[in-house]
């Protein structure tokens, strides 16, 4: 049910990982920052993929949890001092999880197009709440003047101010997210949410209280979106209400479409393609005046990609590298 990468896909993934790990050694801070964004957005897309690709819940408001955790870091950062990663990160993720629990408890009761609409509606409510309340710094956003540090007692072990260190921290978070989600998908819980995606009615008839499983999935996804949002806020030390907006939610869906739904690691390829192409389309040297309207180019690119690679980059990769993943059956025999 979960498409685990086969040996050759793992090889490709390791190559990509090695390529990503070598970015800091290029010594170009622009590309380092770009790669950091790719990785953080890949975590964000991956968290949404748990809902879209594995639970069958197409959330159009996933940025709410991303943005709230970003604001979590901003609110927890003292003005002239660094927040402690050990406190700020779990607290920001917990904030995202709590709001996902409250929103999820309501929206998970709906299905299909209604689910899309109510997730969007709740996210927009949170967006306006953040934009219009003085507490969050208003529509102009707010700064995090000092990046968070990892501090135990009085000893600072590591600061996110260190670009390379921060980059590798994000890369570790990405690998951690992927591995943890794979573990979850292979667990009894994972089997249940995949069953819900396939045929929720039958799952209920088989004795599963599907509401509770969908809600749990929604909260897990929101929590990892929170991880991504927290890291995203630390990239520039700046948060704005747009982080919660529907654009941000839509971008994550596009990354999943580009990467290929149903593989989890596809989100990484989706993020690379999305951020990479955005950067290329904004290049005036290549596209001239069209670069100012890069969204048009992006639109054409996404349409072309979806038409040509129906199952996304990952789907193409899995086919290209050979047979599909082992099923539960085959894994049993192994």
């Amino acid at each position: 049910m979960i498409t685990l990468p086969n040996a050759r896909t793992i090889a490709v993934l390791l190559l990509v990982l090695a390529a990503l790990a070598s970015v800091p050694f290029l010594g170009d801070s622009f590309y380092l920052k770009l790669a950091t964004r790719v990785i953080v957005l890949a975590i964000f897309a991956m968290s949404l993929e748990l809902l879209i690709g594995y639970t069958g819940l197409v959330s159009f408001g996933h940025a709410a949890y991303f943005g709230l955790a970003a604001y979590g870091l901003q609110l927890l950062s003292p003005e002239y001092d660094a927040a402690n990663l050990l406190v700020a990160l779990p607290a920001s993720m917990a904030l995202a999880a709590l709001v996902a629990l409250a929103v999820g408890a309501l929206v998970v009761r709906t299905r299909g197009i209604y689910f899309i609409m109510v997730t969007l509606a709740f996210a927009q409510m949170l967006f306006y709440l953040v934009r219009d309340s003085a507490w969050f710094g208003g529509s102009d956003g707010a700064f995090i003047y000092v990046k968070p540090v990892l501090r135990i007692g009085e000893t600072v072990l590591f600061s996110l101010d260190d670009r390379t260190g921060f980059y590798f921290f994000c890369l570790c978070c990405l690998v951690f997210t992927y591995v943890l989600l794979v573990v979850i998908l292979r667990s009894p819980f994972g089997q249940v949410i995949m069953g819900i995606k396939e045929n929720e009615h039958r799952m209920q008839a088989l004795g599963y209280n599907t509401y509770r499983y969908k809600l749990a999935s929604f909260v897990i996804a929101g929590t990892f979106a929170g991880l991504a949002g927290f890291l995203f806020a630390a990239i520039d030390g700046f948060v704005s209400p747009e982080l919660l907006g529907w654009h941000q939610s839509g971008n994550a869906i596009l990354m999943i479409l580009l990467g290929g739904s149903g593989t989890l690691f596809g989100s990484l390829f989706g993020a690379i393609a999305f951020v990479g192409m955005e950067d290329i389309f904004k290049e005036r040297a290549i596209f001239g005046p069209l670069a100012d309207h890069w969204q048009i180019l992006m639109g054409v690119f996404v349409i072309a990609a979806v038409l040509l690679l129906r199952r996304g980059i990952a789907g193409w990769l899995v086919t290209w590298t050979g047979r599909r993943s082992p099923s539960l059956q085959e894994r049993d025999d192994a």
Binding site: M1, V183, I184, R186, S187, P188, F189, G190, Q191, V192, G195, E198, N199, H201, R202, M203, Q204, A205, L206, G207, Y208, N209, T210, R212, Y213, A216, S327, L328, Q329, E330, R331, D332
Partner: protein, 252 residues
């Protein structure tokens, strides 16, 4: 009759102005195969949907072991030991046969809120799934995607999934629907085997199969119970002949 395992009292379900099931009272005795027959539109499937919790009743009671279950959600009724199969095949088409049974078998874990242990290492679940596959003769098809199987095999899988939840009472909604003669015969044998240690509520259009299997029959017409009795008494009932069987000679 012994204390019924399942009993409906004045059970009614309306869809708008239409009463699909009209104050139906039936007692299902433990250990029996109780068939519910009737022409199309008689309300048989609606009755099953009420019993399994797929639909809430408009009024009336459903007692399982003396306990009120009317209005309970399907997942909760399933855990009381009531399993059902669907007339319209309702399986996980993109999963293999074994994964279909696996999900059914896993539903009997106290909870599936286990996030970190690999599912496929659960020997107890695997044993339940394998037993259901063996009973229905689908072992050789275990690795097949459900959507790639023949209609008859999908019907068997429908039953296998129900069995993997280890129910005490089986609600079978036209298990032979769309099957060929040979497949039907095999399914009759299977139900006979299951009847040895299960209570069965059977809805079926195939009268041969019904009369081979049923210990008791209820005839429904227009949402109401016309008559309940032994196969013999139903076969000879003038009211049943007139209302439902008509001139049919298949029964004589």
């Amino acid at each position: 009759m012994r204390e019924p395992l399942l009993e409906t009292l004045e059970l009614t379900r309306r869809f708008g102005g239409l009463a699909a099931v009209k104050s139906v009272s039936i007692a299902f005795a433990p250990g029996e195969v109780h068939a519910v027959i009737g022409p199309n539109g008689a309300g048989k499937t609606t009755l099953i949907n009420l019993l399994s919790g797929d639909l809430p009743p408009t009024s009336g009671r459903i007692l399982f072991k003396g306990q009120e279950i009317a209005g309970r959600p399907a997942h909760s009724i399933s855990h009381l030991g009531i399993g059902r199969s669907y007339q319209k095949t309702n399986i996980f088409l993109n999963f293999t046969t074994r994964q279909n049974c696996w999900l059914a078998a896993q539903s009997r874990l106290p909870t599936s809120f286990r996030f970190f242990s690999p599912a496929h290492r659960r020997q107890d679940v695997a044993a339940r799934a394998d037993k259901a596959l063996a009973l229905t003769g689908l072992e050789a098809r275990a690795g097949r995607l459900a959507k790639e199987m023949s209609h008859g095999e999908q019907r068997q899988l429908e039953i296998a999934m129900m069995l993997a939840t280890e129910p005490e009472l089986l609600l079978l909604d036209e298990p032979m629907a769309g099957m060929g003669a040979e497949e039907s015969e095999r399914t009759v044998e299977l139900i006979r085997k299951l009847a040895a240690d299960h209570t069965v509520v059977l809805i079926e259009h195939d009268m041969d199969a019904v009369f081979k299997l049923a210990d008791r029959l209820t005839v429904m017409v227009n949402g109401e119970v016309l008559e309940t009795g032994t196969p013999e008494s139903i076969r000879t009932s003038p009211a049943v002949r007139e209302a439902y069987l008509g001139e049919e000679e298949a029964l004589s």
